[in-house]
């Protein structure tokens, strides 16, 4: 268990965060952009739990932070999908390049 240092878990979450960032930059579809955001939120959760386990094992604060992040991510995904469905009704498309009314 303790053979894996904390840094390796941090490398994993860093790579996951930047994979999510790559997806957010390259995708033009709102649903896939939402998926990339979920990946980034998950990498943050891994960091919180790993720091709590390795550096402060006598406390539980990291676990609570990841619990609240999971809750807020669920609410955020639900609102985002409601907005996506509404956008699809008015534009017949969920591509960000097609919703340009407010673009300067």
């Amino acid at each position: 268990m303790n053979e894996i240092p904390l840094t390796h878990i941090l490398f994993l979450s860093t790579a996951l965060f930047f994979i999510g960032m790559y997806g957010l930059f390259t995708r033009r579809n709102l649903i896939t952009m939402l998926m990339s955001i979920e990946l980034m939120l998950n990498s943050v959760n891994i960091n919180f739990v790993a720091f709590n386990k390795y550096l402060f094992p006598d406390k539980l604060d990291g676990l609570f932070f990841s619990l609240f992040i999971i809750t807020i991510a669920a609410a955020e995904a639900a609102v985002a999908i409601a907005i996506i469905i509404n956008l699809y009704r008015s534009h017949q498309s969920i591509d960000v390049d097609d919703a340009t009314e407010m673009k300067f």
């Binding site: 268990m1 896939t32 639900a78």
Partner: protein, 180 residues
């Protein structure tokens, strides 16, 4: 190289490979399924770190909730078998460059700092411990964020219904008539 180490690297490869495929595949339904695999891998990582409660929450909320929601919205908004447009080459190159440079920078930072872990204390993550601390009103309790987050969930639920509701009320009147 014992079993625990091998399991960790296997889980890491699963998470990163599924995440990479989720952001690069051109079919949106496959992308959702790869996201599902990545989230299951993260739950496995929590099991490996022996925080079973977070792992269970991860499976229930992400795998059972958010991914299902995403798949339903894919069905509602577009043809799932159709391929999406490929991003332009310059966009791929610059995004990959930004991601790789960011990863390298953070890797360097973490490697320099080191994080020597202090204690070999056992990590007590009983569900009873978590529940007691979450609802306690003392200095280290989390009752206030708990209540605030419940208000947030209620507001999100009402907001979703209002946003996604159809503007005309004709169907509702029709249904009511049918019941009579």
């Amino acid at each position: 190289m014992n079993t625990s180490t091998i399991i960790f690297y296997t889980i890491a490869v699963l998470i990163l490979g599924a995440a990479l495929l989720a952001v690069t595949t051109l079919k949106i339904f496959r992308s959702a399924i790869w996201l599902l695999f990545s989230l299951v891998g993260i739950a496995a990582l929590y099991f490996w770190m022996q925080v079973e409660f977070i792992a269970a929450i991860q499976i229930v909320v992400y795998v059972g909730g958010i991914v299902i929601l995403i798949i339903f919205s894919i069905f509602l908004t577009q043809q799932s078998g159709k391929e999406m447009a490929k991003p332009t080459a310059s966009k791929i190159i610059f995004s990959a460059l930004a991601a790789i440079l960011g990863t390298a920078f953070t890797y360097n930072l973490i490697n320099h700092y080191g994080f020597n872990s202090v204690s070999a204390q056992p990590f007590n993550t009983n569900v009873s411990e978590i529940g007691t601390q979450m609802l306690s009103t003392t200095a280290h309790g989390f009752i206030l964020p708990f209540e605030v987050v419940s208000m947030l969930l209620l507001a999100a639920m009402v907001g979703c219904i209002v946003i996604a509701m159809k503007p005309n009320t004709g169907t509702i009147v029709h249904l009511n008539k049918k019941e009579d």
